[in-house]
């Protein structure tokens, strides 16, 4: 590595980041139960409605994770917040 290579800030993992696994587990893990046409939900086959529902839940979960990251100072832009947050490489 070149001597003047810039120092890269490390990612800081928090327990709530595991929330981001929920969409994969729920959407795909629920298939044996959701793989049916009826009852139709808003006119859509049940399987399609199930997957669409999880897409919406995913957006909500990621919004929550972003909110938590912001409140922990993990998702603030360096140019706006100065030299705070994860730059120190502090582990939880």
């Amino acid at each position: 590595m070149p001597v003047d290579a810039p120092v890269t800030r490390r990612h800081v993992w928090r327990a709530y980041h595991a929330l981001a696994l929920l969409p994969a587990v729920g959407m795909l893990g629920g298939l044996p139960f959701a793989n049916r046409v009826y009852p139709l939900v808003c006119g859509l086959p049940f399987l399609m409605a199930w997957l669409v529902g999880w897409v919406i839940v995913t957006a909500a979960i990621m919004a929550l994770v972003l909110r938590l990251d912001r409140s922990h100072g993990l998702a603030s832009d360096p140019e706006h917040s100065g030299a705070g947050d994860a730059a120190t490489g502090k582990t939880p």
């Binding site: 969409p23 994969a24 046409v37 399987l47 997957l51 897409v55 972003l66």
Partner: protein
């Protein structure tokens, strides 16, 4: 008959004009041409990334799969969603590492991380190899659009030629800034058209969504759920997982990451993009509406279903507008693909062979590669008969082989050696090639295995081979521990 073509032509002229406007005031160095000078904010990166959702693949391929295969098409909705939650963590990490290192291509990242030019060369070759089927599917789509919008006046082969020339011209003129501006126009047009078609057609032909799906379920039992064999639940789960981890191993997404101004751009996108891609649903509705309304398209011809139902329903001017939107969905992502492949060849393959060449020469080589790549893709388009979704799944099997080496590169130092990464990628790609060329599946290789295993996406096998080789090489070679020595 000529009206739709006139609309198509006008749309192309506007796209070129936007590209020229975007170019003004920026001198086009290789960095400007391929990563837009790294000054793109949330909106532009959003448009570039969202632009990748509405490609010919979703527009024609998505409706084609809904038409021909039914429920398995829903995998598209799922893999994109899961890819976005992964992107929340993956893209900021890639972006942070790229800061101050002058990285332009995906291969640059691997070279810097693993300190291995050889790995960079391999990654470039894999990237170009995966981009080719992706380019082929865009050209195929453009051919379909031009041929269908001409109501048969232009033969498909001539139409594919027209599309290829248009794409090459567009890329040479505008570079990535042109992509972002045209992406805005494209997204507005496609949103309006797709929502309008997906709302109107089910009501027009069936009287509503519920009535449509009930009619389909009666006419084709099992079409709206995943079957017990073939494209079953295990096929669905393995394909969704494989393609969702594969999304950000595509070289054009890597280049897209470098265009951002800050890492939070990606976090915000990860929240909004799952909702934005729900519009894909309306593409499916169009395909489902077509199953009973314009039946009879089999195999790769299912890709024509969206245009066939449009022509059976709407006036020529409306078909022209749909064609124009379709043309943009091929031009914008197609241009990203061409730029990425050309940059990889110039910077990471040509320069590796001729290290003394100047930036100017590399820039010229990059631009010269555009027509060469376009002609190669054109040749393959004219000589292959695969459906659009099958082409993309093939590209995914190739490019996903980079995922283990990408993930294991994070941290202060990569967790595996460059040799292990190299061996894993080569083994994975050989498996993909063997599987693709022999046209086999797990079921054919091992007929005694349970059905759940037999239906797994074959890309999973290649990925497993890849990881196994990485593990063997890592265990067999002595570990460097520079951290302890210091």
């Amino acid at each position: 008959m000529t009206l739709p073509l006139a609309i198509l032509g006008a749309c192309f002229v506007i796209a070129i004009a936007l590209g020229l406007l975007a170019k003004r005031g920026h001198d086009m160095t290789l960095e400007q041409w391929s990563v837009g000078g790294r000054g793109f904010g949330t909106l532009f990166v959003f448009l570039l990334m969202a632009g990748e959702i509405y490609t010919t693949f979703t527009f024609l391929g998505g409706s084609g799969w809904a038409y021909g295969k039914g429920a398995p098409a829903l995998y598209i909705l799922c893999y994109l969603t899961l890819a976005y939650s992964l992107s929340y963590f993956l893209l900021p990490a890639i972006w942070r590492y790229s800061q101050g290192r002058g990285l332009v291509s995906q291969a640059d990242f691997f070279i810097a991380k693993y300190e291995s030019p050889a790995l960079g060369l391999l990654v470039s070759l894999v990237g170009v190899a995966a981009l080719i089927p992706y380019l082929v599917l865009q050209l195929k789509g453009m051919g379909i659009i031009v041929a269908e919008a001409s109501y048969g006046a232009i033969a498909p082969v001539t139409a594919i030629w027209c599309g290829t020339i248009a794409l090459t011209l567009y890329v040479v003129v505008s570079g990535v800034r042109g992509s972002a501006w045209t992406a805005t126009l494209k997204d507005v047009m496609i949103l309006v058209i797709v929502v309008a078609m997906g709302t109107y057609l089910p009501y027009h032909y069936y009287g509503g969504y519920g009535a449509m799906f009930t009619a389909i379920d009666t006419a084709k039992p099992g079409f709206l759920t995943l079957g017990a064999t073939g494209m079953s639940q295990s096929w669905f789960v393995s394909t969704v997982l494989l393609t969702s981890v594969g999304v950000y191993t595509w070289p054009q997404f890597f280049a897209g990451v470098y265009t951002a101004r800050s890492e939070n751009v990606f976090r915000k996108n990860a929240v909004v993009l799952p909702l934005y891609q729900l519009v894909v649903l309306f593409v499916f509705f169009t395909g489902f509406a077509a199953t009973l309304a314009v039946p009879g398209l089999v195999g790769a011809d299912a890709d024509l279903s969206l245009f066939r139902i449009a022509k059976a329903t709407f006036a020529p001017w409306a078909v022209g507008l749909i064609g124009a939107a379709g043309l943009l969905t091929a031009l914008v992502p197609g241009s990203m693909l061409l730029i990425t492949a050309a940059t990889l060849i110039a910077k990471n393959i040509y320069r590796a062979a001729a290290p003394a060449s100047s930036d100017r020469t590399v820039g010229i080589v990059a631009r010269a590669m555009v027509p060469v790549l376009a002609l190669l893709a054109l040749y393959l388009t004219l000589n292959g008969g695969q459906a659009i979704v099958a082409l993309l799944l093939m590209g995914y099997s190739v490019v996903t082989q980079l995922f283990p080496a990408l993930v294991l590169s994070f941290g202060e130092r990569p967790r595996i050696s460059a040799a292990a990464a190299l061996a894993g990628i080569v083994a994975g790609e050989c498996t993909v090639a063997a599987i693709t060329l022999s046209g086999t599946s797990i079921g054919k290789l091992a007929p005694t295995l349970p059905q759940v295993v037999k239906d797994l996406n074959v890309g999973v096998v290649a990925l497993a081979v890849n990881c196994a080789v990485i593990a063997v090489v890592t265990l067999a070679t002595p570990r460097r521990r520079p951290g302890r020595a210091a």
